[in-house]
Structures are given as C-alpha cells and as structure tokens.
Amino acid sequence: MKRLIHILYISVIMPLLMSSCHDIPTMPDNSRGNFEALWTIINEHYCFLREKGIDWDSIHTVYSHRIAEDMTRQELFNVLASMLEELKDGHTNLSSPWETSYYRQWWSDYPQNYDSRIIEQYYFNFNYRQLGSIRYGVVADNIGYIGYPTFASSIGDGNLDAILSYLATCNGLIIDIRDNGGGDLTGVERLVGRFTTEQILAGYMVHKTGPGRDDFSSPFPYYFKPAPQGRMMWTKPVALLTNRSTFSAANNFVAVMQYLPQVIIVGARTGGGSGMPFSSELPCGWGVRFSACSLLDAKGNTTEWGIDPTEGCQMDLDPEAALHGHDTILDFAIQQLSE
C-alpha cells in the first residue's frame, strides 16, 4: 500500500507540482483579454521601449479606457493597431483575417526620392539586363548600375558572379537600394562578401534576455567573411543610393557597407528598422510582429532611426529634373564615381 502511494505520488502529484512551477499565464479571448495579451507581449519582448523613450505603462492607461466588452472586433483591432503605432516601428504589425496594421510614417512623411521608371526609360532606354528582381547595366561614364530592390528573394553566388563579370570593366559601381524594404540577412552577408577581401566586423546583436525592460544580452559581435576564393569581387569605388524606404535588411546592408573605404552613401537617410522582428499571437488568433533583437552597427551605434548618407552626399531627388528624365541622386553618384 505504501508503495502504491509512492507510485501515485510520483506519477500524478509530482508532475502537477513541477509543471505548476512552469506556469504559462493565459488571457481570455475577449476584448480585455486580447488587449492585455498584446500589451504584455510588447511589454516583455519589445526591444526599443527604453531607447525610444516610450512610457508603455501610461500607454496601457490611455488605451485601457478605450476597451469595452461590447466593442466589435473591428473596433478592437483599431484600438490595438493604434496602440502599436505608438512604437513608431515599421517592423510592428497586427494581423487579423481582414487587415494588417502598418506604421507608415517612417517613410510616408518624407519625399520618396525614387522613380524606377526614370532610370529604366531615360538611363537605359529599357535596355537593361534583368535577373529576377535585379536590374543591371552600364550608365554614363562607364559606371555600372545595379538596381537591388529586395533582399527577400535569394540570389545565388553564380548570379552575383554573372552580374559583376558583366560590369567588371566599369570604373565604378552604383548599387541602388532605394525602395529596398529588406529581406534576409543571409542575402546581405552574401552581397557584402563581394566588396571586402578580409573578414570585417559587421556589427553587434543585442537580444532581450527576459521580460524586464532592461533585460538585454551583452552586444555580440558578428562578422562577415569575403566571398570564397574564385568568386568575382569588386574593389573599385561603390556608391549606394538610399532613400527612406531603404529599410530593415537593406538598412543593415548600408550599416555594414558604410565603413568600407571605397563606399559612399548617396541620397537620403535610410528608413531604419534595425530591430529583428519576432512573431507572437493573441488569444483571438491575430498575429503580432514586433522588434525583439536590436542590430547595432560596427561602432555600436543603433541604426533604428536610419543611417545618414556620407557627408556632402545627402540630397533629395529634384522633382522638376525628374520631369525631364533626370534622377539627380543617380546623376550625383555618377559624378562622384567619375571624378
């Protein structure tokens, strides 16, 4: 009998005791529960609350008053999306079956500074090479041009070899990453590897280590290696063209390339987005995306707010010149590389 009690204790009571120590709080699937769940996710995981000076507690107070049990799901979505907008983060979204919320002011409050049609028509007369989403060719003064609109679609080493081989005789290279909204960091690493002959410090990663607002890991340095031997490399001058829609992984590409000696940044401040987004969800099933891991540049600076062009190279696209087929940012870059 004693043995039986022991067996029962081990098999039933102990798991309950041990697992109760590892409790997972659950929120009910109602307006209040979903509001509290979202507030808690951001409170415990969002990595820029301190850096952006956001008083998340007072935001709870403000938005809690807007929650009512009889509100519709659309009304709840609007309130929760507004609360997320307080983070001013292009990586933060709330996704319901009918809508995904976006914070757009990081680019909508600025001039676009880019019109792909101008380049395609007036600089190439539509005779450019295209490889996936990448457009490339030779513009004035024997300067190579690569339009790189995304890091989301992977490009292979063979593709990069082909592009750089085609442009190998050019005097300089323009990489146009205006409107590049990001993608995979592995794609960034692959591309950067063509412009350096030695391993470089790419930056630092800092992730949250717990739910506290100051729970962060020590910055971890990460390095990019040059492309493997035998691959096409580019060591001549490079100009990166940027605008506010240069975001996320593209922003990281600029953060790494800016410290290479042969590289200049031309155009407008990038859009930032240096927080690597995590995903979570609310009891009602809506998805949440938010920045959880901060990428710093090689000098330990945050790039969440964007990266300025090289001194003397900050400029907007002249809309009047654009009407006459001139991309003044591209013209400036050609001029810089031709000197």
């Binding site: 590892h22 997972i24 699937d29 990663m205 729970d215 990460y222 099933g285 995306r289 891991c293």
Partner: protein, 278 residues
C-alpha cells in the same frame, strides 16, 4: 588498491552467477501509437496548442548475461510527430522528436508471476517545434541528454487460457543537460556564432519529465499482441522560456522473443529460458 579489489570481487560475483547457463531471449516490440498532444512553447507563442500525436517505437529487453537472474537491459527508441493548433484554430504547430533510452534494471521476481524492476537509464532525445505562422522565430529546437530513473511492475497471468503480461513502466529523467535558445534570441545569432547560454544543466527544478508506459501483451503462440497506453509529460523553464509538451497515446504493437539459432538448438527446456519480462 581497495577499489580495484572491490571491482574484482564484483566481477567475480557476476561471472560465477548460475544464470550464465541460461538462455536469454531478446524481447523485441514494435509499436505504433496515436493520441493527443498538448503543447506550449513561449519562444514561439504564449498560447497553448492542442492536436494529435503519432509515434512509432521499438523496445528491446534482455536479461543481462553476467547476472541474468537479477539484471536486465532495456533499449527503447521512439519517434513521434505532433500536429497541434492554437485555440483560435488559425495557426499550426508541428513537433517531432526522436529519442533513445538505454536502461540497466535490477529485476525482482516475486510469487504469482509478478516481476518488479528498478534501475538507471541513459537517454538522448532531439527534435523541434515548428510554428508555421512565425517569421524570424519559426522553430524551437529541442535536445536533451539525461540520466533517468526507470522502474516497472509486470504481472504474468492468464485471461482464461490466454497468457498475458500486464506492465506499468514509468521513467523519470533525474539529471542531465538540455538545449534551449535564449529568450528572444534569433537562430541567426546562433548561426553567426553566439553559442552562449544554450546548454543548461537539467534538474527537476528547470526540467521535469515523466514518461509512462502501460502495456498488455496477449501471448498468441510464439508472438504477442501488445496493447497499451503511453504518455509523456515534459515541462521546462529556462532563460525565461517555458515549454510544455504533453502527449497521450494508445499503443498497438507486436512483440516476440527470439534466440540466436545457436541457442535454439541447445534449448530443450523452457525452464532454461530467462525472459526479461515474461
């Protein structure tokens, strides 16, 4: 010197065991299980998912040659696949795990066909939870190496004229080591070389697991039909991340005892056969 002497005496005692003349059939069991899974992993989601679970298992038991009356060895290999959905029903989580456990069990034969056993086991398991809705944190890798305590209680009896064996076997990892990503750490950071804080010592305070196996072997001639139930209860909390994986499965399988052909020829008397379980 005294340790050497003690080891020598122990070895001699094992070697002079009278059981060395007995035949030690290998009990092999192949099983399939189907049931439910209840999964939570706060690296992936704060919600608890529920769904189905399937598994395949192989169990091998044999009396331990140097001391066949007292000790048996047990190898238990399982592979499982779970699919669960969130409470809203709009997100899926897949889980798979492979595990292998080798146990060395002290066996006690009691009257009325009852056998009890208890002993240590070494286990290794690895797998992954994958949440299809997540972007940069879609998966949570699982791996653990543990020293376990395992035990069984078996009863060999009859239903009418049909011989049966009923067994209950719990296994509890006691200490070990396990893998967990850090709170909000991207696998990209791990890929770029940050391996700090990924492996943790396991003890009941941060990782508790209980595996229970209940089997009923219906001996149908030279082989047996195995019916049973197996459950696994794992709860861990480390790096401010909580994981809970619970599965319940009904089990069906086939078991048999076999001897090498050399032993078969020599065996003339059932009394010479030292079965690990039956």
């Amino acid at each position: 010197m005294s340790r050497l002497r003690l080891t020598a005496i122990l070895l001699m005692l094992l070697l002079i065991s009278p059981a060395q003349a007995q035949d030690r059939p290998v009990l092999s069991a192949f099983t399939l299980g189907i049931g439910s899974s209840h999964i939570a992993d706060t690296y992936l989601t704060p919600l608890k998912y529920e769904g189905w679970s399937v598994a395949a298992g192989y169990e091998r038991m044999q009396a331990f040659k140097p001391s066949a009356d007292s000790w048996i060895t047990r190898l238990y290999i399982t592979g499982e696949l779970n699919r669960s959905i969130n409470p809203a029903g709009n997100a899926r989580m897949w889980g798979f795990e492979l595990s292998a456990s080798w146990g060395f069990i002290r066996r006690y034969s009691l009257p009325y066909g009852i056998k009890l056993g208890i002993g240590p086991a070494l286990s290794a398991r690895g797998g992954c939870l994958y949440n299809s809705r997540n972007s940069n944190n879609p998966a949570s890798a699982k791996a653990a190496i543990t020293a376990d305590a395992t035990a069984f209680a078996a009863w060999n009896t009859h239903i009418g004229s049909l011989p049966i064996t009923f067994r209950y076997q719990p296994t509890i990892p006691v200490i070990g080591a396990f893998f967990s990503p850090c709170y909000d750490e991207l696998y990209f950071e791990i890929y770029m070389g940050n391996r700090r804080g990924l492996v943790h010592p396991a003890w009941w305070g941060n990782r508790f697991e209980l595996n229970q196996l209940v089997t009923l072997d219906l001996h149908l001639g030279s082989s047996s039909l195995r019916l049973g139930y197996d459950s696994s209860w794992m709860s861990s909390r480390v790096s401010n991340l909580t994981t809970r994986i619970i599965t319940h499965r009904f089990v069906i399988g086939w078991t048999s005892e076999w001897l090498s052909s050399e032993h078969k020829k020599a065996t003339t008397n059932r009394a010479n056969i030292n079965s690990a379980l039956y």
